[in-house]
């Protein structure tokens, strides 16, 4: 996964399933393009279903942008492990990462669309969360 330094908000996709995470990332790339830093993580370290903090931290690193990073998660552990990963970030980065209350696939596409127009982290989050509004 290569990411150009576009200055746009980065998107991280966290699913229990690596296939879902990768598939959602494919949709973002094809529908929105390459102007948005993007990374995905899914599955436990043994290759089963699950999420893990180390994988999420690595994904945040890959998708990092000075504008911040928006994380899209699926269920339960994806959210709590993402929260844990955010807490483990350096202090100057912690405040620039948000976990969106949005469906993982649709939210990722919408968040990336918003980001590709140069929107701020809060605008990206707000747009993704419109799904539940």
């Amino acid at each position: 996964m290569s990411n150009s330094e576009s200055g746009n908000v980065g998107i991280v996709i966290v699913s229990h399933s690596a296939k879902i995470a990768e598939g959602a990332a494919d949709m973002v790339r094809q529908m929105v393009g390459n102007a948005v830093p993007l990374a995905w993580t899914g599955g436990d370290p043994e290759g089963g279903l699950g999420t893990n903090v180390a994988g999420i931290l690595k994904a945040i690193e890959i998708a990092w942008s000075s504008a911040g990073v928006a994380i899209l998660v699926d269920l339960g552990g994806a959210e709590t492990n993402s929260e844990m990963a955010v807490e483990m970030l350096a202090e100057d980065r912690r405040g620039r990462v948000v976990i969106c209350n949005a469906p993982v696939v649709e939210g990722a596409v919408i968040a990336a669309t918003e980001s590709s127009g140069g929107s701020s982290l809060s605008a990206v989050q707000r747009s993704a969360e419109e799904f539940y509004a």
Binding site: M31, V32, V109, T113, S116, G117, S119, S127, E130
Partner: protein, 104 residues
């Protein structure tokens, strides 16, 4: 297939309106919605779409709202644009529709 007629807005900018038929096979589904909002976001002008000349109007810069319009193929899509770069914005979004969002 668009009729651009300008009408006076209450603000300092003229509100431009135009319409075009959605020619691409599946209408304004996910991918065209993303393209439309990306295009709309590249302009400062307020850009709104509707399925009827009288509205209700939807912010063309909101991908979620644009997808909720669920405009099918063959539908007439109305645009209402207000702003300094409104003319260029209207031309750009109309070109996208005429071009079938690059997939017709």
């Amino acid at each position: 297939m668009h009729d651009a007629n300008a009408s006076r807005a209450s603000k300092s900018f003229t509100t431009l309106t135009a319409s075009a038929v959605l020619v691409n096979p599946v209408g304004l589904h996910a991918r065209p919605s993303v393209k439309l909002t990306q295009c709309a976001k590249s302009f400062a002008a307020t850009i709104e779409i509707a399925l009827d000349a009288d509205g209700p109007w939807t912010d063309a810069k909101s991908p979620v709202k644009v997808m909720r319009v669920k405009a099918p193929q063959g539908a007439m899509l109305y645009f209402r644009v207000t702003g300094l770069d409104g003319e260029a914005a209207l031309a750009a979004v109309l070109a996208l529709v005429h071009d079938g969002f690059g997939e017709a």
